[in-house]
Amino acid sequence: MRKGREKKMSNTASKKISTSNRKGQMKQVWFRFRKNKLAMIGLVVITILILACLSASLYIPYEKVYTQSIRDAFIPPFSEGHIFGTDQFGRDLFARIMYGGRISLFAGLVTIGIAFVMGIILGGSAGFFGGKTDTIIMRFCDILMSVPGILLSMTIVAALGQGLGKMLIAMSVSLIPRQARTVRAAVLTLRGQEFVEAARCYGTRNSTIIFRHIIPNVMGPLIIGVMSGIGGQILQIASLGFLGIGIAPPTPEWGTIISENQSNILFYPYLGLVPGLFIMVAVLSLNFIGDGLRDALDPKQKN
């Protein structure tokens, strides 16, 4: 009992030390990141975009997303009350885009999150334990990667049916093998490093080595992967939405907005242009951040 408490205390104490140290390291990364203008622009833009989408209910009444009126159909952009105009049903495009952004950004984040965690678990154990574990996991990844990701997602959505949750599962499944491979490769190089051998030397258990030495060291490349991965996921969600197998209309999502306006785009191009630009700006910002992070986390690569 007492021993347990002691352990806990010292753990928090040691955590304190390591977090304060980590802060110093994070500071350096931030310092280098801040110097990258494009990355900073990306960070500012994506922050504004996320905040704007999250707080959409504060400045746009929810009904505006769905209220239809034939009288108000195809109002051009920059009209009073409809800054981006309206669609064929007279729904306000601005409202749909801002509310739709919630789903697009959220889904991007969640799928990459799932893939991130699963990738660490699968790729980590494949790389670290090697042997049979490695073979089984990697063969399974090979199978999932034998068809393009979007085809796999499409098929899974088709099987499970439409809906946000199902779509998230479908997209994560096609992303996990790629993530697992990256982690495995990183773990394999780390496993051979002398510092892992050093930890073994004083009897560190495998699980401890993974959590204390391997995972913190693969985080860098993984975070970079995630940052540029979110962008890709937002594009994928939009594509599924466009194909009509993502989020079911009339729920707005950036891809579905373009999809439902597809037949009118040739005559009212703004209906496609505006939501498309939103996707592009969001993904571009995330890519800038990803690039900036790569340079900041791995400075030697640049020079």
Binding site: R139, S146, Q262
Partner: protein, 308 residues
């Protein structure tokens, strides 16, 4: 080399069995009775039961799967559930369109992407480099279907240069190929730049310079061939991306390939068509990867096929 190729082809078999089984499995366990969907809501229980028997749906899953694969091996991909035509015949009409489009897209993406990447690397941190970087970043950041639509609006509607949909003449291929290859072009351009810059900093390039080689020779004779190795690997990935992207592009341009065919099948859950598409795509991707690895061995003398 032949031994290696054979072994690789043998290794492809479990992967293809795996993916087809997986797809078959999730399509079959998913909710909704296909027999009922096919015969329609007004059908009697007997009708449904009959349809079920006719399609073999009353048999265990594994048996259904084995039967399907056995037939597929003999070139019989079954008949579409909802439209009564033979999947194989339909595929033989549509696959050439998709392959033609795919090859066109990959050719321009490689033929332009790599040289522009080289220019970007050699002139790094100049205006040319920045312009190319921004262009490729835009191309990877914008959704492919959106770019396709914007091309339609601009090149077909406004400028009236090219047809917006269909595939009857060669001019119909231009816009789809352009939008399908865009993302791949951008990644090729960016990776070529990164890898070449990396190689240009390596020791043997310094040696080449110390010999008195001109910069042009250093880049093209020494550095480029070495940076080609990762680029070749990239091409394998490219092909997979193109196969996936063709679903979207074909939908945008109402292009009569298997992509647009597949998407309708997926929506209707027309299992024979979905299965056939997955099978065909998996085989194509597998073969491309094999070809890429063989090419790799040709370019890089260090790679010994058959070894570990």
């Amino acid at each position: 080399m032949i031994k290696y190729t054979l072994r690789r082809i043998l290794l492809m078999i479990p992967v293809i069995i795996g993916i087809t089984f997986l797809v078959h499995f999730i399509l079959m366990i998913s909710p909704g009775d296909p027999a009922q969907m096919i015969v329609g809501p007004e059908a009697t229980l007997e009708d449904i039961e009959m349809k079920r028997h006719e399609l073999g749906l009353d048999q265990p899953q594994v048996v259904q799967y084995l039967k399907y694969m056995w037939n597929a091996l003999h070139g019989d991909f079954g008949t579409s559930w909802f439209q009564s035509f033979n999947v194989m015949t339909e595929f033989s009409h549509r696959l050439p369109y998709t392959l033609r489009l795919g090859f066109l897209a990959i050719i321009w993406a490689v033929a332009l992407g790599i040289p522009l990447g080289v220019i970007s690397a050699v002139r790094h941190n100049t205006i040319v480099d920045y312009a190319l970087t921004v262009l490729s970043l835009i191309l990877v950041s914008a959704p492919a279907f959106w770019i396709g639509m914007m091309y339609q609006v601009f090149f077909s509607l406004n400028l009236r240069w090219l047809p917006a949909s269909g595939a009857s003449t060669w001019r119909h291929y231009i816009l789809p190929a352009l939008s399908l290859g865009g993302g791949v072009f951008a990644t090729n351009c960016r990776t070529t730049r990164t890898w070449l810059l990396d190689t240009l900093r390596s020791d043997f390039v310094r040696t080449a310079r110390a010999k008195g080689n001109k910069e042009v020779t250093v880049v093209f004779k020494h550095a480029l061939r070495n940076s080609l190795l990762p680029i070749i690997t990239q091409i394998g990935v490219n092909f997979s991306i193109i196969m996936g992207g063709s679903v979207i592009t074909e939908t945008v341009y109402a292009f009569p390939g298997i992509g647009s065919y597949l998407i309708n099948a997926v929506k209707a859950k027309d299992v024979p068509i979905v299965m056939a598409s997955i099978l065909v795509v998996a085989v194509i991707v597998g073969i491309t990867n094999l070809v890429v690895d063989l090419m790799y061995a040709v370019v890089d003398p260090r790679v010994q096929l058959g070894g570990k």
